[in-house]
Amino acid sequence: MRQLVILSGKGGTGKTSVAAALAHLASEEMSIVLADADVDAANLELVLEPTKLEEHAFMGGQVAVIDPDLCQLCGRCYKVCRFDAVLPGDDTYRVDPLACEGCASCVYQCPEDAIHVEEQHAGLWFRSDTRFGPLFHAHLFAGQENSGKLVTLVKQHGRLLALDEGRDLLLVDGPPGIGCPVISANAGADLALLVTEPTVSGVHDLERILGTVRHFRVPALVLINKADVNPAHTAGIEAYCRAQGIDLVGKLPYDTVVTQAMIQGQPVTIYQPEGTMTAALREVWERVRRRLNGAGPSPTAISE
């Protein structure tokens, strides 16, 4: 079983649209499991028509709760909290649950034993069926912490099912950024597909996400989306990839067909099976598949 993660650094470069298309194309020739690792803005389900089979509570971190009857207003909790989560009030101190990191430092410091911690019901995770394979996804509740922990959970269940059923591929749609949920999404991947765009932000963020996957020793491939929006930056990314020894697996045109497919709730490869976008994505999948199987594509094989 191989694990492919789709990342980008910058948001909105097309990770989920690419993930949905690759899910479709991969499922034509192998058995796959899908995991949506963008748990605070999970969109893969919007284009895969999933049928939910299971729903589970995600218990995230804990938050401190102050008992106003016991609180003597000494202010010790307020002083020791490094997260500005303890708020002074007239009759008692209280805890802002959105700011509290659940460290329990105040619990140990309170001379009245007036503080305890409570586990937070921080989200839900689901096992669903799609026509391409099982999907594991989640909804982190608004403003909650521990998205990295939920990402790990979603991926773990996907991985276990893939191993149990002898499936070939775990395809992970990752979150934007480079921080904790990205690190969790990237963990254990055999290959990362980095979707970028030829903009100053896209180029800047590509360097940072590439640094991140390399830091964790996951080999990377690059896909340039909306490549014709700025040919000079596209050429720059190609040169950068060559210099870094990173294979470019394709360039996708700027095409609103991707949005039209999204509105229909379909991967673009199903919405417009004969279009140029689908043809380009088939080439991308072919190169990704060869790399997953251990045969690297040659960067020079990509037509200009």
Binding site: L46, A104, Y108, G143
Partner: protein, 301 residues
């Protein structure tokens, strides 16, 4: 007056809107307070410390650099009796006592200081674990600051917290614009906390709408902040965002049409109001609407 710019979904144009908004704050407004001080100019803070991009468009002269991070424990082995109390109180399992050895895992530590406070021997002191940096400087008429999370580090929130503290965002004078990261979890909450208004930049697509709903839940429902929407790439998708905003009573304050010229200008690092000056009056009006809304709300209280 603190305006946070957020979106839920990534790539909807947060930085495009935030930078053009900052460049459109009328002169005189920012110095119109009786407390000029450091807020005599509008302040722009890029709080997307995982991928800070606003500097690419505002091109500040960055003059101040500072490494930041969290305080992690350092054990003085002459004083340590290996009692294990530090490990017992650490909810992150960032410190472990194994025989006559204390292991510290900086990547798990949140810097809460509980181990230090609980050590009966006073054997722990704290040292800075660098996770990123803060930079600031001048971008034309704008005071600019951003934070950068180091590659390989997991926690963005401490960097955002220190960025906001360094620039005394919550002093209440002048205008501060905070550019948030995508998503709806802790880094976004940390950026929005204490704001007077959250401007949501979305695109009229199912992904845009789905994530806008979640971002509104954070800003309006959890934090109790007023919100308004900018619809970017208007015309690219469907009517879901319009219908949602109408049903929720959320004002749509601006529409930026799907326009390849905009995409090309942004791709080259130009701010929208620089590339297409016809947008300047629209951003001035957007700023004035938000400023009036914030003032009216403050007076109502």
């Amino acid at each position: 007056m603190i305006i946070a710019v957020a979106s839920g979904k990534g790539g909807t144009g947060k930085t495009t809107v935030a930078t053009s908004l900052a460049l459109s704050i009328p002169e005189g407004v920012q110095s119109g307070t009786d407390l000029p001080g450091r807020f005599a100019q509008p302040l722009f803070l890029d709080c997307d410390v995982e991928e800070p991009n606003a500097a690419l468009f505002l091109r500040p002269r960055l003059e101040d650099y500072e490494e930041v991070g969290i305080l992690i424990p350092h054990v003085d082995h002459d004083l340590c009796t290996y009692c294990g109390r530090c490990a017992e109180v650490c909810v992150w399992h960032a410190i472990a006592v194994v025989g006559k050895n204390v292991l510290i895992f900086p990547e798990l530590c949140h810097g809460c200081g509980s181990c230090t406070l609980n050590c009966p021997e006073g054997a722990i002191h704290e040292v800075l674990h660098v996770m990123g940096s803060l930079e600031s400087g001048q971008a034309g008429p704008i005071a600019f600051g951003h934070g950068t999370l180091n590659v390989g580090e997991a926690m963005a929130v401490p960097i955002i917290r220190q960025l906001k503290a360094k620039h005394a965002v919550h002093d209440g004078h002048g205008v501060a614009i905070l550019d948030a990261s995508p998503g709806t979890s802790c880094p976004v909450v940390e950026t929005m906390r204490g704001a007077d208004f959250v401007l949501m930049v979305t695109e009229p697509t199912p992904f845009g709408l789905h994530d806008l709903r979640l971002a509104v839940q954070v800003a309006r429902d959890e934090l109790g902040l007023p919100v308004g929407v900018v619809v970017n790439r208007d015309g690219v998708g469907d009517l879901g965002v319009d219908e949602y905003c109408a049903a929720e009573g959320i004002p749509i304050l601006m529409r930026i049409p799907l326009d390849r010229r905009i995409a090309e200008a942004i791709s080259g690092g130009k701010a929208l109001v620089e590339a297409l000056p016809e947008y300047h009056p629209l951003f001035v009006a957007l700023y004035e609407w938000i400023a009036e809304e914030i003032t009216a709300r403050k007076e109502a209280r």
